[in-house]
């Protein structure tokens, strides 16, 4: 059972997660997000300069860890009715969000290419000529300010390939999303939290809920912040020493009055199968769902939302926190994850003053935790003062990424002087720098923090690097430090998964710049020692493993996209949707059953067997090769000697290319025809094998016994030969008997609605003996077939025995061939009923 496998996997999760869940305190609000795994070189100690452009001040030294700050925050007292400025005494301005530039979801409609509700987002950019950092001039980039639909494109090119292998139609749907490339398309990333956002919107707007918690006349980020503060106060977070401050009474009243639980029925349409699934959700209105709603429908994302100083300087409400705000500020030159973490946790000295955690604190905590267990750790946590502002910002950062709202910051980040992306210091930012960043992310994927102790340890740790001999092969020390600094800053604004950051930056670069084709050549990275390819690898989400994806992205959204001409051949062969196939299959099935169309006997042996399924599948994959944006397709287009030709006899190949154009578009075995044929074969096989396992075994066995017919195996073999000639180290091989792709296709085809409903397809017409008429001889043959199958069955000894087509035509009531069919035919002949 697959869910047992998953259960066993969950049984093997890391110990600290198990321990964490055993902590009886309520789950706390602050989150342990991943950060960059390795610390950088000692930038501060080295007095690194040039990290930022000259227009920004150089990085200052951190406040001394032992600096004493007054315990009381510099705030003025607040009344219940009003709150006054906090800390700095500056005049407070409430940040009012602009009116929504985001289309309501209710205005969206299902994308015909994806079959699921599209998220429409209006770009807030205007037409202008863009230049990127450095000397690279770009072409004018025009941002469409009208609503655009999501482009449903899988991130990993390898999955594109696999999904074609599994389901031709899913890729057909993609092609419908990219018809004529008459102009540069606008890339809109996918909102992973759209379902939650929709449910929350429906709840809030359907019930006219007042979310203006601070009663300033508008719903904005400070209301969500107020909700967050109230939420953690209500949960009476005892884990940390911070008490959550004091919630102004007007906010508390409104918060308590809010309805927080609701039911929602969401219909999600699987873009691959078109299958609808209704989720019955019990939703809770919480900070996360409010942020989902706010960032999806109510505002563009702003860097302000990620900066502690913004809340300190602009929040009108006084939450009377018990630690000094000066300590948690992240001034403009300290907006990076290192300082964010450092300022998130404070330790209270015995004299009531505060300080940052030191590495000595962290070392001590770590040892004591190991020897004394969770209880001690929890007590230690009670000594820690955690900034609720930082906790809230972590929520914002998380949801901004889930909703893809943070993608709106990429432009600002890339074109500002927040971080220096010229990693190789050649004076310009180009794709080589992105390659360096991708390589860095290969070493340092994310923080992979294990526990709160990790947070404390890192906040107390010196900012030092892990530059070592292994890294030296790819980076100079300066490059490494620059990359670390870049991600340290980028993590402040985006979800601090380095690979995700690389993806954002690469996408943005490709939208604005044409790049040399070599960057889309997998061999380029292999030769540099940056990657070794395993075509079967699951996790190819670095640039190196996904060159096909980035090439296609560049062709679709980059400056050259307007020049790209669509291949008419591709559209003709693959331009079908799943709906087209579902509509075509019943008619195809009937015509084959009644002998109007030939059976899909691909190997011409007179029988429908697993061989037909396998060969048809592999031959169709050959046709797809030129359009495959995964690794295999990328390599074949670049190196034609890798092209795959499976070893079928010529007459079989001619049969494939000639005899199955039943939609009369001039192409035999186009994607629609192939899928229909595969489904027909599958249905036939299922009726002859006793169960799924037996059929699976038969398919597996055929695959293993005929590697020369398997597209994947032939490619692997070609690749090995190619690498020998190129003197490239061989890639890792998996078991050559792998049948995964073929087996995957079986499961996907079986999920087609037309396949599922195959038994309710139109019934026969009564012409059992196939003479073109419906008369008493047809009824007689039915009865003969039932009573004496050895003579009149499909393999019967008598001439004129029933045929397979005849059996289909005989089944007039759709209940299988029975004497009732004979009776219906007789009644029809007497004029007592219609055949169907």
């Amino acid at each position: 059972m697959s869910d047992m496998k998953l259960y066993r996997g969950i049984n093997n999760i890391d110990d600290d997660l198990i321990e964490e869940a055993n902590c009886k305190q309520k789950p706390v609000i602050h989150h342990c997000y991943a950060i960059a795994a390795s610390a950088a070189a000692v930038l501060i100690a080295a007095g690194a300069t040039g990290m930022f452009n000259n227009s920004r001040p150089a990085r200052k030294l951190d406040i001394s860890e032992n600096a004493v700050v007054s315990e009381s925050p510099v705030t003025t007292s607040s009344s219940d009715a009003e709150s006054s400025a906090v800390t700095s005494g500056k005049s407070v301005t409430t940040s009012c969000t602009s009116s929504s530039t985001v289309s309501s979801v209710s205005d969206t409609k299902s994308s015909p290419s994806t079959g699921r509700p599209a998220t429409t987002v209006s770009s807030s950019y205007t037409d202008k000529t863009e230049t990127f950092i450095g000397d690279n001039k770009t072409e004018a980039v025009h941002y469409d300010s009208s609503s655009v639909q999501n482009y449903d494109f899988e991130f990993e090119g390898s999955i594109i390939m696999k999904k074609y292998a599994a389901l031709l139609s899913s890729l057909l749907m993609l092609t419908n999303g990219t018809t004529a490339h008459a102009q540069q398309e606008v890339y809109v990333p996918e909102n992973d939290d759209i379902v939650c956002a929709e449910a929350t919107k429906e709840f809030i707007e359907g019930n006219d809920i007042d979310l203006d918690l601070n009663s300033d006349g508008t719903f904005d980020i400070f209301d969500i912040y107020a909700f967050y503060r109230s939420e953690i106060s209500e949960r009476n977070d005892l884990v940390s020493a911070s008490t959550g401050g004091k919630i102004p009474e007007n906010i508390w009243k409104k918060y308590k009055a809010l309805p927080k639980e609701y039911l929602s029925n969401e219909t999600v349409i699987d873009p691959e199968t078109g299958e609808k699934t209704v989720y019955h959700g019990n939703y809770t209105l919480d900070t996360i769902s409010l942020l989902d709603y706010y960032l999806t429908y109510k505002t563009d994302m702003k860097t302000d939302y990620l900066e502690p100083d913004f809340y300190i300087d602009n929040c009108k409400e006084d939450y009377q926190d018990d630690f000094p705000y000066e300590f948690i500020k992240n001034d403009v030159d300290k907006r990076n994850m290192w300082n964010f973490q450092k300022t998130m946790y404070l330790k209270k000295n015995d004299d009531g003053t505060f300080r940052y955690y030191t590495s000595e604190d962290a070392d001590q905590l770590s040892e004591q935790f190991k020897s004394n267990g969770l209880d001690y750790m929890m007590k230690c946590m009670k000594q820690v003062h955690i900034s609720p502002i930082h906790g809230f910002i972590q929520d914002v950062r998380y949801i901004a990424h889930e909703t893809a709202a943070d993608y709106q910051l990429v432009k600002e980040f890339a074109e500002s002087d927040y971080a220096d992306p010229d990693i190789d210091s050649n004076g310009k930012f180009d794709f080589d720098d992105i390659v360096k960043l991708a390589s860095y992310s290969h070493f340092c994927i994310d923080g992979n923090r294990n526990s709160f102790i990790d947070d404390i340890f890192r906040s107390g740790q010196d900012y030092n690097g892990t530059y070592n001999d292994h890294i030296r092969e790819q980076f100079t020390e300066n490059e490494w430090n620059k990359a670390l600094s870049f991600f340290d800053t980028a993590g402040f604004y985006f979800n601090d998964n380095n690979r995700e950051i690389v993806r954002y930056i690469a996408q943005y670069y490709l939208i604005n710049n044409e790049v040399d084709d070599k960057y889309f050549d997998p061999s380029y990275y292999e030769e540099k020692g940056l990657a070794q390819y395993n075509p079967r690898s699951y996790n190819n989400d670095e640039i190196f493993g996904n060159t096909g994806y980035y090439k296609h992205f560049s062709e679709t959204y980059g400056p050259a996209s307007a020049r790209k001409e669509e291949s008419p051949e591709f559209k003709k062969r693959f331009g079908f949707t799943q709906d087209d196939i579902n509509a075509a299959f019943p008619d195809y099935y009937k015509k084959v059953k009644t002998g109007v169309l030939p059976k899909p006997d691909i190997d011409l042996n007179g029988k429908i067997e697993v061989a037909d399924y396998n060969i048809l599948y592999n031959l169709s994959y050959e046709e797809y090769s030129p359009y495959d944006y995964g690794y295999i397709g990328s390599m074949i287009r670049r190196y034609p000697e890798l092209n795959v030709v499976i070893d079928v006899p010529q007459n079989v190949r001619d049969n494939f290319n000639t005899n199955f154009d039943f939609n009369n578009n001039g192409i035999s075995c186009d994607a629609l025809e192939t899928d229909c044929m595969l489904m027909y074969i599958l249905n036939d096989l299922e009726s002859r094998y006793s169960d799924k396992d037996e059929l699976d075994k038969a398919l597996d066995t055929y695959y293993a016994e005929h590697p020369e017919l398997q597209y994947y195996e032939v490619f692997i073999k070609n690749l090995e030969e190619f690498k020998k000639t190129q003197n490239i180290e061989s890639t890792e091989q998996q078991n050559i008997a792998e049948t995964a792709n073929v087996m995957k296709s079986v499961e996907i085809l079986k999920s087609y609605s037309s396949f599922i409903n195959i038994n309710s397809l139109p019934t026969g017409n009564g012409d059992t003996n196939g003479d073109g008429n419906v008369d008493i001889s047809d009824a007689v043959l039915i009865m003969q077939y039932i009573s004496n199958p050895s003579k009149y069955g499909i393999n019967g000894s008598e001439n004129g025995h029933i045929t397979d087509e005849g059996r289909y035509r005989a089944d007039v009531d759709g209940e299988g061939v029975t004497n009732m069919d004979a009776l219906i035919i007789q009644k029809h002949l007497l004029g007592l009923c219609d055949i169907n």
Partner: protein
């Protein structure tokens, strides 16, 4: 060498007032001192029975699995030296309980456990399955990485549901939360786990 002790279930009232810490117990195991098993029982017996009781309803099955877990710990340490002695026998115990569990026998099914399994099935798209070639440990690592990207509150609730096999109501009571809130959190994490498993290629396509 098999410890020469008889494992008898002792309730919480019989627990000794003072127990050794994990490092000391591991030291005893390395010395092949049978006292190690007694100390482990004293520390973790309640937890073990709690966990196995969420999966197996029969007392005899529970006792057998718990004892089997202690034997496995004795046999595997050394050479293993786990960082966390508490979860180590618990994982062995759960594996034993899962193997013992007669899922298809309705009479012996623990309804809560069955419901949690059914919920997990939502994480796997229809007609597909988790890649069998991936070891349980590899899958565990991947799921751990996924859980770390989730908010702490979601993560803890998820682990209590699917590792500790607790009911939604028990989780709500444990954390002093509303049961519907717990259900909401589980719902969200399952959906995100489903997307994660598909994106990372852990699900057969």
């Amino acid at each position: 060498m098999v410890p020469n002790v008889v494992f008898i279930y002792r309730g919480p009232h019989e627990r000794r007032a003072e127990t050794l810490d994990d490092a000391s117990i591991i030291k005893l195991l390395f010395e092949r001192n049978e006292q190690a098993v007694k100390e482990m029982k004293a520390n973790y017996e309640n937890l073990c029975y709690y966990i196995v009781g969420n999966i197996l309803s029969q007392k005899e099955d529970q006792e057998e699995c718990v004892n089997s877990a202690y034997m496995d710990v004795w046999s595997s340490i050394p050479p293993n030296k786990p960082d966390n002695l508490k979860t180590y026998p618990c994982k062995l115990l759960k594996n034993c309980a899962l193997n013992r569990k007669k899922y298809n026998t309705a009479a012996k099914r623990n309804p809560d456990f069955s419901v949690s399994l059914d919920e997990l099935a939502e994480c796997i798209p229809d007609g597909r399955s988790v890649e069998e070639r991936i070891s349980d440990q590899q899958l565990g690592k991947a799921i751990s990485a996924f859980l770390r990207t989730q908010p702490e509150k979601y993560r803890k609730v998820f682990v209590r549901r699917y590792w500790y096999s607790e009911s939604v109501e028990d989780i709500a009571a444990f954390y002093d939360m509303n049961a519907k809130t717990v259900a909401t959190y589980l719902f969200r994490v399952r959906k995100k786990l489903k997307a994660f498993l598909q994106k990372e290629g852990y699900v057969d396509e």
